[in-house]
């Protein structure tokens, strides 16, 4: 300490005119070189490998693949819409002062988070075995097999399962909003539900969107497990084609390419949404007291 102090006492103003040189960042250059090398090796391996890239290009826009892509996207949108709706409803129920509501929400979350998704899909798809007809007695009745086909079974399976997870995300978002906001809303005469809709949920969105965005991305890919109940999404259609022409890797690359494209577009949408709900949170200009 004493030695440093002695040196520091030499305050030479001449240093102000000296040029400043940045650090060398050797680690960055080295890691960049290693990564490029690894990338080159991977590219070379795929180029030399037994992959018919012409077949990939040929099937990338094949009608069966595009049809599967459309089904995948539609299913993602519908299942997520159902999941988010159920998630918000059950999150609000889980935080209700009404004990029955809370119990109901707890059971829903416990049941659908506690069993494998693929099992739930199979149950929905085979519902006709247990209930040959569904309806309201005296009003209407339909054959289960006509209503719950592959699309409906996938939608119910994915959407209801998603709702159980989203409920927890929404609940954590609601908890993240300062209790003072709720009290202020009460003092201007708002009821509980109005407070949630106008004050709490809009602020909770900031916390809710990143994990829900994550779940949308995961839903795009989860639709692929619906191939087990014959829902004709992109992976199932790719498989159907390679069963016929034996171009397994080529068609899997086609499917992978489309998944990446869809997920990239969704990620851009998430960035825009996050910006929108960040309003009033201009951290830099914030002052308090």
């Amino acid at each position: 300490m004493t030695e440093r102090r002695a040196q520091a006492s030499v305050f030479d103003p001449a240093i102000l005119s000296l040029p400043r040189v940045g650090r060398l960042h050797l680690g960055r250059w080295l890691s960049a070189a290693l990564m490029l090398l690894a990338l080159a090796l991977v590219i070379k391996a795929f180029a030399d490998g037994d992959i018919a890239w012409k077949v990939v290009g040929q099937f990338f826009t094949a009608p069966a693949i595009l049809g599967g892509l459309v089904n995948t996207v539609i299913m993602t949108i519908c299942a997520m819409a159902l999941g988010i709706t159920l998630g918000v409803v059950f999150a609000i129920m889980a935080m209700s002062p009404n004990l029955v509501m809370r119990g109901c929400a707890a059971f829903y979350i416990w049941f659908f988070r506690g069993t494998p998704l693929i099992l739930q899909l199979l149950i929905w798809f085979n519902l006709a075995l247990v209930f040959p007809t569904i309806g309201i007695p005296g009003l209407f009745s339909v054959r289960t097999i006509d209503v719950i086909g592959p699309f409906m079974a996938t939608l119910l399976g994915l959407g209801i399962n998603q709702g159980a997870y989203t409920a927890e995300v929404v609940r954590s978002g609601i908890l993240s909003v300062d209790h003072g906001q709720t009290e202020a809303a009460k003092t201007i005469g708002m009821t509980r539900l109005t407070t949630l809709r106008r004050i709490v949920l809009p602020q909770a969105m900031r916390v809710i969107i990143p994990p829900v965005g994550n779940e949308v991305v995961s839903m795009v890919k989860l639709t692929s497990i619906a191939s087990v109940i014959q829902f004709s999404e992109i992976l199932r259609n790719a498989q159907t084609i390679y069963y016929a022409n034996a171009r397994v890797i080529e068609l899997l690359i086609v499917a992978a390419g489309w998944y990446l494209i869809v997920v990239s577009i969704l990620s851009l949408g998430q960035i825009a949404l996050e910006r929108h709900f960040a309003k009033g949170r201009a951290g830099a200009g914030a002052r308090n007291g």
Binding site: D178, G180, E183, K186, G189, T191, R192, R281, A282, G289
Partner: protein, 260 residues
């Protein structure tokens, strides 16, 4: 206050008790506040003064006693020989009688100053938006913040946020304003601007209950000062009496501690 003694009280608290667990935050407190009166409640922290304020607008439920605000029994309706608890919606309606200003401002963080002020009139009172905006602009001008209408709370100083919060409460046209330590979270140089707005409000004849540590403000503006300690109302009277020549030792100790 000869005139106010004749009219019905704006607030009447009768033997109010509020417990948090085993702690009695309010212990058999009775208090009347006349229309147009400005009452400052002072006392050490934990004395129950904020709790009393929060019971008046039903942010807390009382365990015993009764409170009337603007002639209505808070939280219950009398049905024959019984008191029946009101619904959420009725309690929300009763809260419209009073406006509240919080220590931590509690402005809606996702709304601009103007949106904060019109939120209640538009969403709760169903006023047409154009009329609500015109009134909100007048209120923001009244608290000296006309040019900050489009600023978000995070872009305002504490003093500015608190003045917007006062405008937001006034937009609901309350009969009574409750202030819960409105200047305690402010930097010292910002206290004056908030007190100035409150002083104007008192002059306009608004009934005000102010929980505060600003004894100077209490001395100057209050019609009556109430001193509370350990959940009980210790003494009350004109500011000159309670702050200048307190009867109780506890009051004397408190005033000495605040002024030192």
């Amino acid at each position: 206050m000869a005139e106010t003694a004749l009219s019905a009280p704006m607030v009447k608290a009768l033997s109010v008790t509020k417990r948090f667990g085993t702690l009695a935050a309010l212990d058999d407190v009775s208090l009347e506040i006349a229309p147009g009166e400005v009452v400052c409640i002072v006392g050490p922290s934990g004395s129950g003064k904020s709790t009393l304020l929060r019971c008046i607008n039903q942010l807390e439920r009382i365990d015993a006693g009764a409170i009337w605000v603007d002639g209505e029994l808070a939280g219950y309706r009398q049905d024959g020989g019984r008191l029946v608890e009101l619904t959420d919606r009725d309690i929300a309606r009763q809260r419209l009688a009073s406006g509240m200003v919080f220590q931590r401002f509690n402005l809606f963080a996702h709304m601009t100053a103007l949106q904060n002020v019109i939120e209640g009139p538009v969403t709760v009172l169903r006023q047409p938006k154009a009329a609500a905006i015109a009134e909100a602009e007048a209120l923001l001008a009244r608290v000296g913040l006309a040019e900050k209408r489009n600023a978000y709370p995070s872009e305002l100083s504490g003093g500015q946020q608190q003045r917007v919060a006062i405008a937001r409460a006034l937009a609901m046209k309350p009969r009574l304003m409750l202030f819960d330590e409105p200047t305690s979270a402010l930097d010292p140089e910002l206290v004056g601007e908030v007190l100035a707005v409150m002083r104007d409000l008192a002059k306009s004849g608004m009934t005000m209950v102010v929980v505060t540590h600003e004894l100077g403000f209490a001395r100057e503006v209050a019609d009556r000062v109430v001193f509370m300690d350990q959940g009980r109302l210790v003494e009350q009277g004109p500011p000159a009496q309670v702050l200048g020549a307190p009867e109780h030792q506890r009051t004397r100790d408190f005033i000495a501690a605040v002024l030192s």
